[in-house]
Subunit: 351 residues, 2 copies
């Protein structure tokens, strides 16, 4: 597969950034996670004056052969129907992206539908859905490579157009099953621990989904490297996101990590190159059961915990203004000296 | 004191609102807390098409005689210095209010400083700081009544100018001590449970603060009604906020509740009229120790938990875009039928 050259972030400015934050007119540390995020963005951009430019969100859609096993309460056609909904601006992600002026790109990575020319997503279609991974690998190694390089190209284009902060959303009926299988293989947890309700399974449905994953894992025991795991259990949209995330980190962009599917893609990307998380900000803790475990495995702390479990990049979009707040306080707040405000007598306030 | 006529919210539209939300193109319940907030705002406004108009934030500043007891690591003059910082736009709340187009009003409720005419807060000054409540009531009943009616007037004016969503921030060195005393008196928890670091006390400082409150509570045992508790232990800014909150609920406005001090004011307002929480949305869980307890006592769930403990209304401002998202998904998302999206086969999805 394509190589990505991801540098660990440069820590040279760490002390200067901390000093700048501590001189702001507020008790030390009193902006909590905003301070952590602000620092991280300064480090990613190696500057004391961070900026967020042209935030972009790439929604990757693909269908999944595993839906033949009854792992979702929604029929497969909901994937293309929702893609059309994205294109006409009526989905949740459209609402939140408009709210925060986030540029959306809708990508057909492998939807089981022929879009007409008048109302089409960007065409990165590899096939009309993956194979059923209960029986055979979801895709070929070659297809997986194409998806990864598609993701990289999409991100390169966004970066070229001036974006320095990006996120990835997804749509694909059946993809929480795919993501849970990846999670099991990469971290060793059991299918029943990895499986949640997805779009709305009941307890019995979740148990069935875990059994399917259990069988598939047993069948594909020889899939052990991150790349093999990705093409065996993944989806075209997940592989595209993996490539997109790796490229974004290579380009030094800030990556906002959405929910369960996007974080499964990050698990793969991180297994390929663990410098990537330097560039990642976890938007939220999804209500999908194993998402918190995934984030902890990656040592990421989510900004929000709103009980959301919708995908599409909605968590990333809703969290975006908080990231903006983190950047803006660093750039716009006055210092104690500049504002003529007395400092604390306490040692705790390091100014 | 002034009477406020707060109606419980009208629940007539409950089923219709829920139906509208459940027909949106998303799995049922998948927007989590956004759905809860959206519903609440529809109920407050008794509509299926809620709006947020001219969000406003009233920052109330006042000084506290209790600072004589060494309860804060910052000197009292920081109160007026920060008011000047608010007026010149360099404080954290200015940054976040600008970000979200929230109109700020800066109020001198009782700061120990004479502001000159060129750069002045709105004058609602009752005195040059409260008395030291270790020795005597912080203010007279009459002063407390004036502060409450000042708050009501300020809110009436904002409402008259078209605002339907309001929050209250504060500045006052020493006011976490005042708020903690109110918390103890209204809920019965002990001073050591109620006291946190405030602007940055260490363990020893927190213990000292709790001892001061313990002594003051013992001295003022006869203060038992919410109004007596407010004038005995409160601050001019806290009493002004109490009046503002009560008026806002009377006017049917959405009230965003900020951190520890603002929530202490709400404890008093709620003790006076417990219909008020129908109109309240808790912005965040402050890092000030007893804030979560306060929210639980009021049966409010905070939107954010970012480890912030700055006051000024910063938590409310940072949470504002999340409240906007809740309103916008209700107004802008398409329905399953409208978008031609198939429904779930699961019973869990009530459509």
């Amino acid at each position: 597969m394509q190589e990505f050259n991801i540098q660990p972030i440069n820590l040279n400015l760490t002390d200067q950034i901390q000093k700048k934050i501590d001189l702001k007119t507020k008790p030390s540390g009193s902006l909590g996670i905003l301070e952590t995020i602000g620092k991280q963005i300064c480090l990613i951009q190696n500057t004391l004056e961070p900026t967020l430019q042209k935030p972009s969100l790439i929604i990757c859609a693909g269908d999944h052969g595993i839906t033949n096993e009854g792992v979702s309460p929604y029929p497969q056609e909901v994937t293309f129907q929702m893609v059309l909904n994205f294109l006409s601006g009526g989905a949740a992600i459209n609402v939140f992206a408009r709210q925060h002026d986030i540029r959306l790109k809708i990508i057909d990575c492998g939807v089981n539908y022929d879009f007409n020319d008048h109302n089409s997503p960007i065409n990165c279609k590899i096939d009309y859905g993956t194979k059923n991974f209960l029986n055979e690998p979801a895709m070929s190694a070659e297809q997986c490579n194409i998806a990864i390089s598609n993701g990289a190209k999409l991100v390169t284009e966004s970066h070229h157009n001036g974006s320095n902060i990006i996120s990835f959303g997804e749509m694909g009926i059946g993809n929480t099953t795919s993501a849970a299988a990846i999670l099991c293989k990469l971290t060793g947890i059991s299918p029943i621990e990895a499986c949640g309700a997805g779009t709305g399974l009941d307890e019995k449905g979740i148990f069935h989904k875990a059994q399917i994953i259990e069988k598939a894992i047993t069948k594909h025991q020889r899939a052990t490297t991150p790349f093999e795991i990705l093409y065996t259990f993944g989806g075209f949209e997940i592989a595209t996101i993996v490539g997109g995330m790796l490229k974004a980190a290579e380009l030094g962009m800030i990556i906002i990590i959405d929910g369960f599917i996007a974080t499964a893609a990050l698990l793969v990307a991180n297994a390929l190159n663990n410098n990537i998380t330097d560039y990642c900000i976890a938007a939220h803790q999804s209500n999908e059961k194993a998402h918190l475990f995934m984030l902890q495995h990656l040592n990421l702390k989510p900004i929000l915990n709103l009980g959301m479990r919708l995908g599409e990049g909605t968590g990333a979009a809703v969290a975006y203004p908080i990231i903006q707040s983190a950047v803006q306080f660093i750039n716009e707040m006055s210092s104690f000296e500049g504002a003529g405000v007395s400092k604390s007598s306490s040692n705790e306030v390091k100014v």
